[in-house]
């Protein structure tokens, strides 16, 4: 096995008597995935299916003077062509990307869809899209968000109204609201200030002050499966959508509002998601549903890689000005920040999260944080795993190292000294619940990467760097149903899309509550007509919220069995327990009824018991933030600027790892994405706002050649409400990579690169060689 990977195993099966949770469990759907049997949206076929291909705007900002679809319609094999004027009615709001299919008079970013062609052959549809003739009047494109906030900047677009923030709320729940654009028209979509104490006094007190600007590139989620959607609106008036989404119920609600349809006439079937990372919430479904309603035939729309890179919702560029002060003893005394997130042509940049984190990792009495979400004529942005977090973290975590260096302090100890703990305040005044940031720092101190740093750094051009990261997590109600079958097996049904192995964790949770072998529990993600409600699988909240509902559903079924067993076992429920597929009397295990017996007695003809259906429904109001500490070991070639990653370690607080195999996978996967942000990934635009690298050759994802095995350390500081103490897991892992690598590069060669990705060119500039 890869020797570099070590996992700190906590005691299991053990003191707590857990047999199912806390175990390394293989994925329920593993066999389907390794054999190619898993059904993704593009694998679905229907008789009469039409393929849709879109025409994407060739300018970043332009007026549509006219659209002529004659030639496209004349191409043999074309079924129909739709533009803004001939789509069926929907409730359109041009302020929100998700409420607009095609614009009718103005395009706001390069790649904005303006029309669609339907044909039975996708090649014909694509060819016809190229035959649509549009007369454009090109307008100046506003591309630099820093210049765009200045008064007098040309405007990106007409003023916003009725901005819908519901999607962002799915990723993170904070008790703060940004102030929407008001007063004179400007490109600032929203602004959020956070102040505490007196920063001037804080800086006066400091022995070292660091002031610097930090940039982080626009990056793409780069799920390997591009956006894929099939919709059908049949004769019964029911709208069905099969789509690669993390958020089936959210899409249902949005489509119901868009088309004035009752929610129970819409069926969203979340097909297996071939990677989402926050980018697959709600994007293509409105267009495909509208087309299906128009033609009364099933319509499939599969984005090509290029389409997806042009017109999906990548993660924003951010420019962050940061000033921090520290006293000789390593106390952070003041933090002043201006965060500018480039939202693209529509609101939706995760600026709030950046503000919360830049001032939320360390105790500091004096803060002044100003966040700006700024519009530009670029593709509108969306969520990418802990949206907005890595941009802000790159800035603050670089500063901590820089201040520690100036003061001659150990970077790890400085972090431990200032790290927030339970009871400390977030920038908005919210109080932290129990968290494990300090524990993550202590764990990373024990990693091989960190312990070896002195030896490693003895080699010229090698350096080891450290950074922390975190995510506050989303909150949303959730529910689950737990049914007993006649043979004693159990079916659990949830409404959440399983994007990270959550259904396997639910299997473990239900099996644990019922003390059943894992194979006696199966879990299904139903669709929006068959499953009980769940929030979107985003904000790292699925195990935390739906997992609790599963726990309660299993518990409810168990209690129903106890009630029913009273007469036959002749004891009260409090004197019963479950064990090995039976309900038995405590202390007298031979007085028992098997699950199978309950199953028969509740389903047979003339059976005495009602059907056993456990119900779990929760509201989640208390967050369980997740933190991480990460260390990178890099080698720099000072002649070419090339950077080689030799080793990487991640410690992360999972609260309680329901399935350590999955938790490690989440940690390693997120860490690799953080490394992509650190070293390779950047959507590059030219001076006209055209994307230069809409493919996976020029947009450089981390490959196996780039990434060594990642040392993975699970930390477990239990959350207060999560099932068995589990807390959010999916997102924190991506957050620290950029800063950890930046700090490692500095330690390797003494050059501080203030922009990620740290390309050879940027490094050579920082070294003064270009």
């Amino acid at each position: 096995m890869a020797q570099e990977t070590k996992v700190r195993e906590t005691q299991r099966t053990d003191a707590n008597g857990h047999h199912a949770v806390g175990q390394r469990v293989k994925r329920l759907e593993g066999a389907a995935k390794v054999t190619g049997k898993t059904v993704y949206a593009d694998d679905i076929k229907f008789p009469g299916l039409l393929h849709a291909k879109a025409l994407y705007a060739p300018y970043a900002h332009a007026l549509i003077k006219s659209i002529d679809t004659t030639k496209a319609k004349q191409l043999p094999g074309v079924h129909s062509v739709y533009t803004a004027t001939d789509l069926p009615h929907y409730n359109r709001n041009d302020s929100n990307r998700r409420n607009l299919i095609f614009p009718d008079k103005e395009v706001l970013f390069y790649g904005q869809p303006v029309a669609a062609v339907l044909a039975e052959d996708p090649h014909v549809a694509e060819q016809a899209a190229g035959l649509i003739e549009v007369q454009w009047e090109v307008l100046p494109a506003v591309l630099d968000p820093v210049a765009a906030i200045e008064p007098g900047s040309p405007l990106v677009r007409d003023p916003l109204s009725d901005v819908d923030r519901s999607e962002e709320r799915g990723h993170v729940s904070v008790d703060t609201q940004e102030t929407e654009q008001e007063g004179a028209p400007s490109n600032i979509a929203s602004h959020a200030p956070f102040k505490r104490g007196d920063v001037a006094a804080g800086f006066a007190e400091a022995d070292v002050i660091v002031e610097r600007s930090w940039k982080s590139a626009m990056v793409h989620q780069s799920y390997i499966e591009p956006h894929s959607t099939v919709a059908d609106y049949d004769i019964t008036g029911e709208l069905k959508v099969w789509t690669s989404t993390q958020a089936p119920f959210y899409i249902r609600d949005e489509l119901a509002q868009a088309f004035d349809l009752p929610e129970n006439r819409i069926r969203i079937i979340a097909t297996e998601v071939g990677g989402g990372f926050g980018g697959k919430i709600y994007l293509t479904e409105l267009m495909v549903a509208a087309l299906a309603i128009a033609v009364k035939r099933p319509v499939k729309y599969i984005m090509s890689r290029k389409d997806d890179m042009l017109a999906a919702t990548p993660a924003p560029f951010a420019h962050i000005d940061l000033k921090t002060g520290m006293t000789k003893d390593g106390t952070l005394t003041a933090l002043e920040a201006r965060l500018i997130y480039d939202s693209g042509a529509f609101p939706g940049a995760p600026m709030l999260a950046g503000c919360m984190l830049i001032g939320g990792y360390y105790r500091c009495d004096n803060i002044d944080i100003q966040g700006y979400e700024v519009l530009t004529n670029k593709v509108s942005v969306g969520a990418l795993r802990a949206p907005g977090a890595h941009n802000a973290t790159f800035a603050i975590e670089s500063h901590i190292d820089m201040m520690a260096k100036e003061l001659g302090l150990d970077p790890l100890e400085v972090r431990i000294k200032n790290a927030v703990e339970e009871g400390d305040l977030m920038p908005n005044g919210q109080v932290y619940p129990r968290i494990g940031l300090r524990e993550c720092l202590e764990a990373i101190a024990g990693s091989e990467v960190w312990r070896n740093r002195r030896a490693v750094e003895a080699t010229p051009n090698r350096g080891v760097g450290l950074a922390i990261g975190g995510w506050l997590g989303g909150l949303q109600p959730a529910s689950a149903i737990c049914c007993l079958n006649p043979d004693g097996t159990v079916n659990v049904t949830v409404g959440s899309a399983d994007i990270t192995g959550t259904n396997t964790s639910f299997q473990q949770i239900a099996a644990e509550v019922l003390k059943l072998p894992l194979e006696m529990v199966n879990v299904t993600s139903g669709d929006t007509k068959t499953a009980p409600f769940a929030g979107m699988s985003a904000g790292s909240k699925t195990t935390y919220t739906v997992g609790r509902a599963v726990l309660l559903a299993a518990e409810d079924m168990k209690q129903q069995m106890f009630e029913l067993a009273k007469q036959r076992l002749e004891v009260e429920p409090e004197d019963m327990e479950v064990a090995e597929g039976r309900v038995q009397v405590k202390g007298a295990p031979d007085r028992a009824m098997t699950f199978q017996r309950f199953g028969k007695l509740s389903t047979n003809f003339g059976a005495p018991f009602p059907v056993l259906v456990g119900r779990g429904a929760i509201t989640a109001r208390k967050s369980a933030p997740g933190f991480t500490a990460q260390a990178a070991d890099v080698e720099v070639d000072p002649e070419t600027g090339d950077i080689t990653l030799h080793a990487f370690a991640i410690a992360q607080d999972a609260g309680f790892a329901i399935n350590p195999l999955s938790v490690e996978g989440q940690m390693q996967g997120g860490a690799s994405q953080g490394l992509g942000i650190a070293l390779w990934e950047e959507m590059q635009y030219d001076e006209h706002g055209r994307l230069l690298n809409p493919n996976l050759l020029d947009y450089r994802l981390p490959t196996s050649r780039d990434l060594p095995p990642i040392e993975t350390i699970i930390v477990e500081v239990p959350s207060e409400e999560g099932p068995f103490g589990a807390r959010i897991v999916g997102e924190p892992s991506i957050v620290a990579g950029a800063a950890a690598v930046g700090n490692a590069v500095f330690n390797a060669c003494g050059a501080r690169v203030d922009e990620v990705p740290i390309t050879p060119e940027r490094l050579l500039r920082a070294l003064g060689k270009l």
Binding site: M1, A2, T5, R24, K26, R27, E29, G30, A31, A32, K33, V34, T35, G36, K37, T38, V39, Y40, D42, D43, H123, Q221, S222, Y223, I224, E225, P226, E272, V273, G274, G275, G276, F277, S304, R305, I499, T500, G501, L661, S662, E664, G665, Q668, G669, G670, A671, S672, Q673, N695, L696, L697, L701, P702, T703, S704, R705, L707, P709, I710, T712
Partner: protein, 159 residues
């Protein structure tokens, strides 16, 4: 549209005669005409490897091979790895090591790993990392994929 072209090939061990669209790729032909939807299209430009198949013993990206180019060749897709209803050791190792998450890259990744082990029975970690570099995985960070290939190697050696 060009007329269809008749070709014969061996697909997953079975000889087939097919009328193919000359402009279609091997990937489209397999997915759309033969309903083998295991191989995936992630990019269409040969960069991601999700469509990887083994053709005459070579690992290829089937999104870059036109259907007529497959004439006379022996092609194995992910659907052809199972033998007598049981999983190939590589497939089993990916499940056991947790080397899969969303699964979209897996039909290609497993073929790349199988191809490596066909040619190198004891690959080093470096050789594994080289051999899989044409197959992008966005979910795992590759660590558990390396472990899966190492696990498959061990199990095959133990046989």
């Amino acid at each position: 549209m060009m007329p269809k072209q008749l070709i014969s090939l061996t697909l997953n061990g079975l000889p087939r005669e097919l009328a193919v669209e000359p402009s279609w790729t091997l990937l489209e032909t397999v997915r759309e005409a033969l309903d083998l939807t295991g191989p995936k299209e992630g990019c269409g430009t040969g960069d991601c490897g999700a469509c990887s198949m083994i053709v005459d013993g070579r690992l290829i990206t089937s999104c870059l091979m036109l259907a007529p180019q497959a004439a006379g060749r022996e092609i194995t897709t992910i659907e052809g790895l199972q033998k007598n209803g049981s999983l190939d050791p590589v497939q089993q190792a990916f499940i056991d090591a947790g080397g899969l998450q969303c699964g979209f890259c897996i039909p290609g990744m497993v073929m790349a790993a199988r191809h490596l082990l066909d040619h190198n029975r004891e690959p080093s970690l470096t050789e594994i990392r080289e051999a899989l570099a044409g197959n992008l995985c966005r979910c795992t960070g590759y660590t558990k994929i390396y472990e899966a290939v190492q696990l498959a190697t061990e199990r095959m050696a133990a046989r």
